[in-house]
Amino acid sequence: MLWQRKHILGLENLSKEEISHILQTAKPMKEVLLRPLKKLPTLRGKSVMHLFYEASTRTRTSFETAGKILGADTASIAVAQSSVSKGESLLDTAKTIAAMKVDLVVIRHAASGAAAFLAEYLQAGIINAGDGQHEHPTQALLDMFTMQEEFGDLTGKKVVIIGDILHSRVARSNAWGLTKMGAEVTLVGPPTLLPPEMKALGVKMSHNLDGELEGADVVMALRLQLERQQSGLFPSLREYSRLYGISSQKLKKTGRKTIVLHPGPMNRGVEISSELADSPMAKIEEQVTNGVAVRMALIYLLAGGTSNVMA
């Protein structure tokens, strides 16, 4: 297909064909990544700016690595040391960046819609690296890439996503993306973190983890933000872990070869047991590698790489 999008703001508005195209493009990117000499001249002369308003190690490093392998010039604005902490608005910061004539802006921000906001005001292409509780499209794409590596076609595959669904941009992007790819998604969490209005995502919901594990091909544990307990959304880590934490023992209920994903960083012993995180079922490190590949694919597609990937 001919790639036409300028921005990646979320998976809700991408088509199945577009998602497939990104995942397809990521395959040769991963091969490049696994080479001893990983450098392409493809995007030489293109610039990518990373604008991270929230602390992030893996996503920002992953994007930077991806851009550099493709030969693009990358720069990062660490918000704590920048004019943003002097009270500059997002719009003014964005205009300043635009004036530097960057080709792509990768943004992470605590406000839902921050990426769409930039797309409205800037000429540059925008990649959403997580906006509030709205979407985290690159995470969902790398999750789907990891699943495809394991299973091939995702049609009919059963994916169980567990945890704080209400506040999770990862869950939202995965629900949109996986549904489009034909997977059967079930969201699981306590009623306070999976309230009735989450049916807006159009997938199955359940409060009972044990009842949903049978036949699951993929189990994804979300990171539990520990401050949710202080807001009264669940009574204790102990009770949460008992009800919604996953372990090798619990995963026997799936009755098949299941893979375990986690977007990281993990709370070992809360949403996922330590032994499961380190077991062969867990593809958590593979997710990180695939994250670079998927982000290479996106930067390549958005920064105008139209020629053969391997050129």
Binding site: L91, S112, G113
Partner: protein, 433 residues
Amino acid sequence: MLWLKNVQIVDPAQDLAAVRDILVKDARIFEISVTFQEEEVQAKAEGETLEVLDGEGRLLFPGLIDVHTHLREPGQEEKEDIASGAQAAVRGGFTSVLAMANTKPVIDQRALVEFVRAQGERAGLARVYPVAAVTKGMQGQELVEMMDLAAGGAVGFSDDGHGIQNAEVMRLALEYAKLSCLPIISHCEDDALAAKGVMHKGLVSARLGLKGIPSCAESVMVARDLMLAEETSGVLHLAHISCRQSVDLIRQAKKKGLNVTAEVNPHHLIFCDEDVQLTKTSLKVNPPLRTADDREALLEALLEGTIDMLATDHAPHTWEEKARPFAEAPFGINGLETSLAAVWHYLIAPGILSVKRLLEAWSLAPARRFGLAGGSLKPGQRADMVLFDPDRTLEIKIENLASKAQNTPFLHTKLQGCPVMTWVGGRLVANRE
């Protein structure tokens, strides 16, 4: 003397909706008749200059009275001031406005009430009536000097912008305000339930990943305030009602005969949460736009009289403040200049709301509830009136707005139906001709 001929006068107070001639003299409505002869009018003018206007194809209303505006002065004049707000009002068809007290400083002393009133008089456009705070500094703790504020010109009391969280403070306010016979205007919002949400809690907030404000954040406070009004026999007005549950509670309270009135904002009748988009901060408003079902309940309540009034909740904000991600932009819709045209376009033109009910709700009921001049075109009344052209299209553009702010969802749209001339006390204060 003004002789306005052949105009369709709609005045629910006189049960009038017919083509008439109307004479205005000495700032007051002089006489209404099917038609006047030239000589007859000359005689009535008693030598005054006679101005003749043909109102064919147009409607004449008693000036609209808006019981809920934020004019931002003193303290936030970058958003609006009393003069620019009053200018926006008369251009929008409003001859009187109530200015809310959540300014900087809060209007909680007599000198401040008198300042607001004086600024309104200096502007010489719409009549500006101050609403004073209920509690000092709007801290929700100690009551203001209600009698002194009333003597200074306050027409009601409200901590609008915040709900009064402490039920005992609300009970005392309703009790004490009986001395003044003025209403307590309640902004019904439970802070813990609203929990820093930014839009209605429902399917759309779930999809967009925005923190939701549940309907119960309003309805539990409506229930509380109605019970307190019943117990104290206080005078209660409920601001900006937004959901079906609140409507049901008010309906029951009215059946019991409580002294309660309620208002609805035009945006809650025109939009719903499905219209909200992450980049459309002009629709970020508190209380939030709720579901299509809530909108239906509000409309029904307005039609049947459970909701007594329309009010804009005019809340101007600067362009920069609204040019932010949704969660970070301030709440509020700029309403004075667009609301009448918008209600005409979306509700009157399609036949959902009658002109008579519109004027009951936006002129007569507000005048009666807050004891204000106006609300009717009966001979002897002050000539606060609006000439309205139902066929003219109003294009909402930044350069056309008198308000300092442009935070209206109707920006860059066209609305059918437009106020063309507005008189306050017989003086022409807005003219689009």
